[in-house]
């Protein structure tokens, strides 16, 4: 029986409850979800972060998210996989990305979940712009893992 897979890029708010509900499966022993949310930040110069603004190379990213979900289903025998990413403006506290996986055992759920979010962040053709309270907006183009942390990623 194949895995139930749902992936995509969406301009509307991610409905975490509805996405989590899609992961139900009588064969599942564990359901793991991870949501990346816009974290309140203060710029070194004192400005407050209002939101993140996401754009994507939509055709490529859509295919990448689908490939990711299929990899997780294949490698960890996931029964259901969800990988949804927001586009456009995501206010502080709101989710920009949701990944979820249902598996028979919990170790696989944690491993597959970590794979999904790590690989998405490292390779999906998606970019965010930080929008500050004074109107300034700066693209986030990390140099390394360390810079990713510094520039406000989850």
């Amino acid at each position: 029986m194949g895995a139930a897979i749902s992936t995509g890029l969406f301009s509307n708010a991610l409905d975490i409850a509805a996405l989590t509900a899609r992961l139900s499966d009588p064969r599942a022993g564990g359901i793991l979800t991870f949501a990346g949310t816009t974290r309140a930040e203060t710029h070194p110069a004192g400005q407050t972060l209002l939101a993140l603004d996401y754009e994507a190379y939509a055709d490529m990213a859509a295919r990448q998210l689908e490939d990711l979900a299929e990899s997780a289903a294949g490698k960890w025998g996931a029964l259901a996989v969800v990988v949804h990413h927001r586009l456009g403006r995501v206010e502080v506290g709101e989710p920009s990305v949701f990944i979820g996986v249902a598996t028979a055992h919990r170790a696989a759920a944690f491993e597959a979940g970590r794979f999904l979010i790590d690989t998405l962040k490292a390779s999906a053709a998606i970019w965010k712009k930080e929008v500050w309270a004074d109107g300034a907006a700066t693209w986030v183009h990390p140099v390394s893992g360390l810079d990713v942390q510094k520039s406000g990623e989850a």
């Binding site: 990346g36 996401y54 754009e55 994507a56 190379y57 055709d59 490529m60 990213a61 295919r63 990413h85 920009s96 990305v97 979010i117 998405l120 962040k121 490292a122 390779s123 999906a124 053709a125 998606i126 970019w127 965010k128 712009k129 693209w139 986030v140 183009h141 990390p142 140099v143 990713v148 520039s151 990623e153 989850a154």
Partner: protein, 81 residues
């Protein structure tokens, strides 16, 4: 031959375009096409060392040979999630 070049995020802002058709010699590599693009848009120069490439929606290396009609994307460091 011609390829369609796609630009995103800071590259699109700097080039003030998100897509353009580029004339390149037959048999050009991705790297050669990127160099032609950089000549036309000097503002991109500082970023050319930090981009990776995709052709027809898949990551490729700079040595990949293009064919007429390919879609070539310059991918600056990604920051989704």
């Amino acid at each position: 031959m011609t390829v369609t070049v796609r630009l995103f995020a800071v590259l699109r802002d700097l080039a003030q375009t998100d897509s353009q058709v580029l004339d390149v010699p037959n048999g050009s590599t991705v790297g050669a096409a990127a160099a032609i693009l950089a000549e036309r848009h000097p503002a991109l120069g500082a970023w050319m060392g930090r981009v990776v490439y995709a052709v027809n929606l898949e990551y490729v290396l700079a040595g990949r040979v293009l064919v007429d009609g390919d879609e070539l994307a310059l991918i600056p460091p990604v920051s989704g999630g």
